[in-house]
């Protein structure tokens, strides 16, 4: 048996770097889709819950109740895929954790705290519908919202530390000999990155949930329940779009000042110069020239620092030694993802403007099919926007894992079988992802079939809800 295993190990001697990178990217990319739901859905559920109790609105109450059932599924998948990430830090990047764990790891201690709180109260909230008093039950949902926000801030603080490592002292051998946890958590990049992610969580969560109801309305389900299901999350998402543009602009300027090479990749700037054009699309060639795309003259310089305008000097990729800048391919990925993020983000903003104008001038949401079609694709578009932004951050940092201190290739595991775990993870996550969507859809169908709530044999469904809801609503009014 052991001989066989040894033989197997010998066969699989494949460089782990690209596979570890791919596995980390894949699992994070999967997990990050569930993050907005975990962070912002509880907030939207509480809005519906509040409306339900305060205004005796049974539609809103049913909505809140169903959302909490959906949340149970997405939170569970988010929890386990998040747990995998804690394994992967060690399994894929043991030398990174071995050398930097004492600094990088600190924010996760706090994240664990918030995640624990979130898990506890989400359990109470989801299962507390029937027997807790309405307002007491409502309040058990509030810690979920707070823990979601602070938990994601903690995780992003760790990622921000990789971009702006601080709060430690090294000895002559490069070992960490002293750590200032406050400096680690509140590193320079943390406020911008954390704000960007929390707002993204509300933006993506809002558009994603609203898109489901937009599809329902396009299919003719234009009852009050569907309107509520659309209005609450879409309003949250729409409000976030202008905020996100401001935060994103601030973060970009931070990158301009602190990670010039990443900024050069974003703006496709091979050599240091002023009057840098903002190139839409296009790509960098092997010889260092930029081809294709639509250049807007001087705009990138102007955006980097409006006070000096076109004269603003932007450092090029060549400002760093060749082994300390992203490869040509990575640069093109960063630039393309940047364009995707900004482009889709702008479209989402325009959709939000349409929605706002309609409310201002007509006192109702836009009724046309074209708006609903836009809203229906806005969910997926928002997810793509977020993924693209995350790729910009991560790939733009290459080749560093700890900016300026440790390269990815020096952090990776020595295990050469990572390509096997990569495929195992992809297959497993594909199954879990498919099952998640199928389960959520089947729950939705079941809830619809149970219109009027007479369906009694539905496990985990709205059994005997009518009495509950009306009783609770009545109680609340009194």
């Amino acid at each position: 048996m052991i001989a066989t295993l040894n033989a197997l190990t010998a066969i699989v001697l494949i460089n782990p770097v690209p596979w570890a990178r791919a596995q980390m990217a894949f699992t994070l990319g999967f997990h990050i889709i569930l993050v907005p739901l975990g962070v912002s859905w509880a907030f939207m559920t509480l809005i519906a819950n509040y409306r339900g109790i305060r205004h005796n609105d049974s539609d809103a109450l049913v909505l809140a109740q169903r959302w909490s059932k959906f949340m149970a599924v997405t939170f569970a998948v988010g929890a386990v895929t998040g747990t995998v990430l804690t394994f992967e830090f060690g399994l894929l990047w043991p030398r990174f954790m071995g050398q930097w764990g004492e600094a990088f790891g600190v924010p996760f201690g706090f994240e664990g705290l918030f995640f624990f709180t979130e898990a506890i109260f989400i359990a109470i909230y989801i299962f507390g519908w029937r027997r807790l008093k309405p307002w007491a039950h409502f309040w058990t949902g509030v810690p979920i919202v707070l823990a979601g926000i602070f938990g994601s801030i903690s995780v992003v603080a760790a990622n921000a530390w990789m971009n702006a490592p601080s709060g430690f002292v090294l000895d002559s051998n490069g070992n960490v000999v002293s750590v200032d946890p406050v400096q680690v958590i509140f590193n320079d990049s943390m406020p911008w990155q954390a704000a960007h992610m929390v707002v993204a969580a509300y933006l993506v969560g809002g558009f994603l949930i609203a898109s489901v109801y937009a599809v329902g309305m396009l299919r003719g389900r234009r009852d009050r329940y569907h309107y509520l299901g659309f209005l609450i999350p879409f309003t949250v998402g729409a409000v976030m779009t202008p905020i996100q543009m401001g935060v994103g602009d601030g973060l970009a300027r931070w990158v301009y000042q602190n990670q010039p090479v990443k900024f050069a990749a974003i703006e496709l700037v091979p050599t240091t110069r002023s009057d840098v054009p903002e190139t839409l699309l296009g790509h960098l060639n092997e010889d260092g020239t930029v081809s294709g795309g639509i250049p807007i003259p001087g705009f990138a310089s102007w955006l980097s620092d409006p006070s000096t305008g076109k004269a603003t000097v932007v450092q090029g990729l060549n400002s760093a030694p060749p082994d300390q800048e992203p490869t040509i391919r990575q640069t093109n990925i960063v630039h393309l993802c940047w364009d995707i993020m900004v482009g889709l983000g702008t479209l989402l903003f325009l959709l939000a403007v349409w929605y706002a104008l309609s409310w201002i001038f007509r006192r109702r949401m836009p009724q046309t099919k074209w708006f609903l079609r836009g809203a229906a694709v806005a969910g997926v578009a928002a997810v793509i926007t977020m993924e693209a932004g995350w790729v910009v951050t991560e790939v733009g940092r290459q080749p560093w894992i700890v900016y300026g201190h440790m390269k990815v290739e020096d952090a990776v595991t020595a295990n050469t079988g990572v390509w096997i775990t990569f495929f195992a993870v992809v297959i497993l996550y594909a199954l879990v992802g498919t099952a998640t969507i199928l389960v959520l859809r089947s729950m939705g169908r079941r809830f619809r079939r149970a219109e009027g709530f007479t369906d009694q044999d539905t496990p985990y469904g709205p059994s005997a809800l009518t009495e509950e809801v009306s009783a609770r609503a009545g109680e609340a009014v009194r």
Binding site: L5, A76, E102
Partner: protein
């Protein structure tokens, strides 16, 4: 300060074993409950019992990892490099288990429920085995210091790991059965109370037998641990045996509440005994806790987290358990008869 963090780490392992472990154990009983008809009743009881609390229970594992990588990063690197295979299997098993448990609750069709149920139950056995094997690899001194990789195969396929893995599966099954007896009695479900009581007794006996066999395995395979258990750890081992036997007696006499307390004590004291026996080594005979410890700033931050956890998380966790025990967090649906409330039947 590294001692304080080491104690916290050990307590987190204890908490994971007695809270999270019981969830895995419940999955074990789910697995062997038989066909869809015969196993329906026990499966309902299991689902009802672990429903609301399972996610919270598994956060202990995240705490263990976080404490390890912040406070003892070098050891964490060595462990993950060496025990790559069992830890990877455990990670994938956790995904499979958590997702399929949530899915099973959310779907109606029997076919789907069986697929998700099987995935849930099988991974519930796989994960504790891998965790036990990992612990066995560490405890028997097979993980080298210095962020180095040990033998990728022998580190988890060895006598101590096998015993620890099997013992982990048996122990979580035992704990779960004891809890389920209590749960079933609380719900006045005497059939199920008896069903799990018989299983708890069998599991207790198996845990006893494996532990006894384990003594000889450790003596031959993990000498440092064995010597520690036979000296410093001996009082804890004796305590564990006394509690274990006491729990068995109470189970036979149908005193579920006392049995639950004693079973927890038995498991907790054996884990603490492991820690005491291994002391002062985190990786026996190659790396001590104090040598592996991170700078004091990090350790202070970890202790702050622990204090905050005591202030924020522990009351929340207690609230969750109290509400669950008082049946204020009822499972909805799952073959519930219309109009019949479980708590009052």
């Amino acid at each position: 300060m590294s001692t304080a963090v080491a104690v916290v780490l050990l307590l987190a392992v204890v908490a994971y074993a007695i809270f999270g472990g019981a969830d895995f154990g419940a999955g074990f009983w789910d697995l062997i409950a038989g066909g869809p008809e015969r196993g329906e009743h026990p499966r309902d009881t299991i689902e009802h019992s672990i429903g609301p609390v399972w996610e919270a229970n598994h956060v202990w594992l995240i705490f263990i990892f976080v404490i390890l990588w912040t406070s003892f990063p070098e050891a964490y690197a060595s462990i993950t490099l060496t025990l790559f295979v069992p830890l990877t299997i455990a990670a994938l098993g956790i995904v499979l288990r958590g997702a399929s448990f949530a899915f099973r609750k959310a779907v109606v069709g029997l076919g789907y429920r069986r697929v998700f149920g099987a995935a849930f139950a099988a991974s519930s056995v796989l994960v504790p085995y891998c965790m036990g094997a990992t612990a066995g690899g560490v405890a028997s001194g097979r993980v080298p210091a210095g962020g180095q990789a040990g033998d990728p195969v022998d580190s988890w396929i060895n006598p101590t790991s096998v015993v620890a893995g099997v013992l982990a599966v048996a122990t979580v099954a035992y704990l779960a059965a004891v809890y389920l007896v209590w749960d079933a009695r609380r719900l006045a479900d005497h059939d199920m109370a008896d069903y799990f009581r018989r299983r708890a007794i069998v599991a207790a006996s198996i845990v006893g037998i494996i532990s006894f066999a384990g003594i000889f395995v450790l003596r031959a395979d993990a000498r440092y641990l064995f010597d520690g258990l036979a000296s410093r750890g001996l009082p804890l081992i004796i305590l564990s045996v006394v509690c274990g036997v006491g729990a068995l007696v109470l189970l036979v006499r149908k005193a579920a509440r006392g049995a639950r307390v004693l079973a927890i004590l038995a498991v907790a004291s054996i884990i603490i005994g492991w820690g005491v026996a291994q002391w002062p080594y985190l990786l026996p005979e190659s790396l001590t806790f104090s040598a592996a410890a991170a700078p004091s700033g990090t350790l202070a931050a970890v202790l702050v987290v622990v204090v905050l956890a005591a202030i924020i998380v522990v009351p929340g966790f207690a609230l969750l358990f109290v509400l669950h025990e008082k049946d204020l967090l009822p499972e909805e649906g799952v073959d519930e008869e219309p109009g019949v409330d479980r708590a009052t039947t």
